[in-house]
């Protein structure tokens, strides 16, 4: 059995590091509700409050006495409308322009800022605050619930995001988690998490569609489930479409019917709440009366389910168009689909179920709890990442990445539905003699013009060696990691100089803003940088010792007595240093051990080469070294002849 298999045998714990003995939690950070789950024992488990409630309303109240989150915050709304924020997820990674474009009554007050670019800020309780900070408050509350119910500190989490979230919204989510003192092991797409929970539970195999209509977002993903691999074939959706929009449609109708003229912020919030209650009741009843008193005007408005359905059908049809697109993208027909899984509270709406059934030609599977399944999947993934697992999630990038070229046209660099992680390199050149800088504007979306796509950021390449125009070959690499997050790096190919990159995110925090916020947040005040570096140095030292140990066991016979003694003494020094508190000493000891093993490495290489040359064919030597744990292991090939 090879080394890797020993380390990552399913169900076995990878080597524990100092920081990683705790439990990693799974968090569904929802528009309306957030849910936290753990999968530490046999069965994954949603963590509930004293009343058995697993849902934490994603509502934040910034009160003079402190921050309140959840149901309690909801209750504060009536009396303190300007201190309470809900549905903040809709603003994650958004700019001022996006918010203006969001139709309908908005339950937020956008802070008046001088410029109309950059990330949107809210005015809450008289202060200007970013959506990232508000989401961080929700996550802190979620973390607190987990710590209380587990009776231990929690620092690691898998956080879910809508599959259709763009890069800006994903990084905003990750930043929020950081602010809340959580180390994000992975961002997982919500429908993928749901599929994981559902598939493991039911032993499903084949192609499944996950239709997730929540409070503020809609996702549709097609996955192939086979032997524990959850492979996303295509994904689509609308990150600004959900139950909130159904509430808006209903509220607007009520306004029109009652002749109400102007709505203040408190009035709008109250009306939306009333509309939501009516909408939810219409799931069970044929007709419901909406009564509310708003700013002195009485609203008394009866809606039938049929009227409601007529009102929302255009919205539901929008989701069906996305369904068609993902089938098309994956080249799959509705007939080839084994099952349709419904996720999200809004899939309780009867019209939604009907339309889904019509479209896919089969009744959707609704025997799972649509509110909790995403968090359960996140918890399962958290366990897989920290404790090892038989299952594997293979996800894709939801929206194409491109760069701006002449005339505001987008040139695609990475197509949507490409499996992640992915990296693509593209060459650029200078257009002026002696040019040492270059601007690259990265956008995300499917449309052909820059204006119709979302701007992610501007990357400025600096330090290009001066040459005549067109002579430089700057290779820019766009890399999307397993979280779906983009990084850009650049290198001048002729000189090999790495260009420096200054990033200006269009709707996110710059690194220095993030650093400032972290410094300000209490969670990290105690977090000692020096301590962290010491732990890292120790972890690296332990790795070196383990690797050397394996090498000595295998090839120790190649050493002379003196050589062995020198190595042993360097090992002893390193072990001693690890016990101490001096990081520099640890690093120095690692370095001297490295020196001491130089000859050993040389002997090992020489022997391998000698064996290859002497009698043994190369194939034999390599076969004896083959360490490939894959079932159809790639046999090491022969060298070029």
């Amino acid at each position: 059995m090879s080394g890797l298999l020993q380390i990552h045998e399913p169900g076995e714990t990878p080597e524990p590091h100092a920081q990683e003995r705790g439990i990693a939690i799974g968090i569904d950070l929802g528009t309306t509700n957030s849910v936290v789950a753990v999968a530490d024992g046999e069965q994954p488990e949603v963590l509930r409050d004293a009343h058995g409630d697993g849902l934490i309303p994603s509502v934040v109240a910034l009160m003079p006495e402190g921050v309140v989150v959840g149901r309690a915050a909801q209750d504060l709304r009536a009396k303190n409308p300007d201190c309470v924020v809900s549905s903040i997820k809709r603003l994650m990674g958004r700019g001022v322009h996006d918010v203006k474009a969001l139709a309908g009554v908005l339950p937020y007050r956008i802070a008046a800022s001088g410029d109309s670019v950059g990330m949107v800020r809210l005015e809450v309780a008289g202060r200007s605050i970013t959506p990232i900070e508000i989401s961080a408050e929700i996550l802190k509350a979620v973390k607190a619930r987990a710590e209380q119910s587990l009776g231990q500190g929690v620092t690691q989490a898998v956080v879910t995001v809508p599959a259709y979230f763009d890069d800006a919204a994903r990084s905003a989510t990750k930043d929020a988690a950081k602010l809340a003192g959580l180390d994000v092991l992975r961002l997982v797409n919500e429908p993928t998490a749901a599929a994981l929970a559902y598939g493991l539970d039911s032993g499903a195999e084949g192609v499944y569609a996950i239709y997730d209509l929540g409070g503020g977002t809609f996702d549709i993903s097609l996955l192939r489930l086979q032997k524990g691999v959850f492979q996303v074939l295509s994904t689509g959706g609308d990150s600004a479409l959900g139950g909130d929009d159904l509430d808006h449609a209903l509220a607007e109708r009520a306004i029109a019917a009652s002749g109400l003229q102007k709505l203040d912020e408190a009035g709008a919030a109250a009306l939306l709440l009333a509309a939501r209650a009516v909408k939810e009741q219409l799931t069970e009843r044929d007709s419901v009366k909406l009564t509310a008193e708003i700013g002195g005007t009485k609203i008394d408005f009866t809606v039938s389910r049929r009227e409601f359905e007529a009102l929302i059908d255009p919205l539901v049809q929008r989701t069906m168009r996305a369904c068609r697109q993902v089938l098309d993208d994956a080249r799959v027909t509705p007939k080839e689909i084994q099952g349709v899984v419904l996720v999200g509270g809004s899939t309780r709406v009867p019209l939604v179920r009907r339309r889904v059934e019509e479209f896919f030609g089969r009744a959707p599977l609704a025997d799972i709890n649509p509110d909790e399944v995403v968090a359960v999947g996140a918890a399962l993934q958290a366990k897989a990442l920290t404790r090892g697992s038989d299952t594997l999630l293979l996800d894709v990038i939801p929206l194409s990445l491109g760069i701006e070229t002449m005339g505001g046209i987008v040139e695609k660099v990475i197509d949507r539905n490409t499996p992640i992680p992915v990296a693509k390199a593209q060459d650029f050149t200078t257009y002026q003699d002696g040019q040492t800088g270059m601007l690259i504007h990265v956008v995300q979306g499917e449309r052909e013009t820059v204006d119709a796509c979302r701007s992610l950021g501007r990357f400025e390449l600096l330090g290009i060696p001066p040459m005549v125009a067109g002579a430089a070959r700057i290779q820019v690499t766009f890399a999307v990691d397993a979280d779906g997050l983009l990084t850009v790096s650049a290198m001048e190919k002729i000189t090999g100089i790495r260009a420096e990159i200054a990033v200006k995110p269009s709707y996110g925090l710059t690194e220095s803003e993030m650093a400032d916020m972290l410094r300000d947040s209490l969670v990290h005040a105690r977090d000692d940088m020096e301590q962290r570096l010491l732990i890292e140095a120790r972890v690296e030292a332990e790795r070196v010792l383990l690797a050397l140990d394996a090498a000595l066991k295998a090839d120790g016979a190649l050493l002379s007595d003196e050589e062995r003694a020198a190595i042993d003494s360097a090992i002893a020094k390193l072990r001693q240093a690890i016990k101490g508190e001096d990081r520099d000493l640890v690093n120095a000891a690692v370095e001297s051990l490295d020196h001491a093993t130089h000859a050993f490495a040389q002997h090992r290489m020489d022997r391998a080469v000698a064996q290859a040359l002497k009698g043994h064919s190369l194939d034999e030597v390599e076969a004896s070294m083959a360490s490939d744990p894959a079932p159809d292991g790639r046999r090491p090939g022969r060298p070029a002849e």
């Binding site: 992975r186 691999v229 920290t386 690797a547 790639r634 060298p639």
Partner: protein, 216 residues
């Protein structure tokens, strides 16, 4: 006759030194056989990355099987709690693997890639002008027919014909590669590229017509 120096060079090239334990590792191995550490991806063509010989007629099921097998071993999720360096190598391995998979599972990309391996440049992703006048004529006529098709049935017919053409072209490409006729392979690959595009257009057209009729 290879000389002894050649042999030594070849033998040396077969190994790299493990970044972790410094021992010799087969140049293409994913993991060190001594210490188990994941290695940086080797410089390999997409076929060999999946343990396959370069061949247009590669079985797609085999590509899938190999891909999933390797993913199980090297996916970054398997290394989430490992030190940064190992995480980076796992990510690099997964990137290389995904690229191989994306290229080989699609016959058009596979054909273009195999041509490039054989020294013929047939870039599929970039827009380029059609040099083949016959193909140009054909494409223009087909587009015209599509524009004129006003019923779903007519579009379906055009779609079916283009689909059948594409299948025929595929078998042509296979034959061309089998007989090492790279010119023909190149020509047919370009043709397949246009047929693909045309098939996309028929799909778009069909959806537009369906929507028109649905709302009517």
């Amino acid at each position: 006759m290879p000389t002894q120096a050649d042999d030594t060079r070849a033998a040396r090239a077969a190994f790299v030194s493990c970044w972790s334990c410094k021992g010799p590792v087969a140049a293409q191995a994913l993991f060190c056989h001594t210490c188990g550490a994941i290695q940086q991806p080797a410089q390999l063509d997409h076929f060999r990355r999946l343990g396959l010989e370069p061949d247009f007629d590669t079985d797609v099921d085999m590509v899938e099987k190999r891909y999933l097998g390797f993913q199980r071993a090297i996916h970054p999720d398997r290394f989430a709690t490992r030190p940064a360096k190992e995480r980076a190598f796992a990510e690099a391995q997964a990137v290389a693997l995904n690229q191989a998979y994306e290229t080989l599972k699609d016959p058009l990309r596979r054909a273009a890639y195999l041509l490039s391996l054989k020294g013929v440049d047939a870039s599929v992703s970039k827009e380029e002008t059609v040099r083949d006048p016959e193909l140009l004529m054909e494409v223009m006529e087909a587009r015209e027919a599509l524009m004129e098709a006003t019923s779903i049935e007519k579009v379906e017919k055009l779609q079916a014909k283009a689909g059948a053409d594409a299948i025929a072209v595929l078998s042509g490409i296979s034959k061309a590669f089998a007989s090492d006729d790279l010119d023909a392979a190149n020509r047919l690959t370009t043709r397949l590229k246009y047929l693909r595009k045309y098939l996309d257009e028929t799909r778009t057209r069909r959806i537009a017509l369906e929507q028109e009729q649905g709302t009517a």
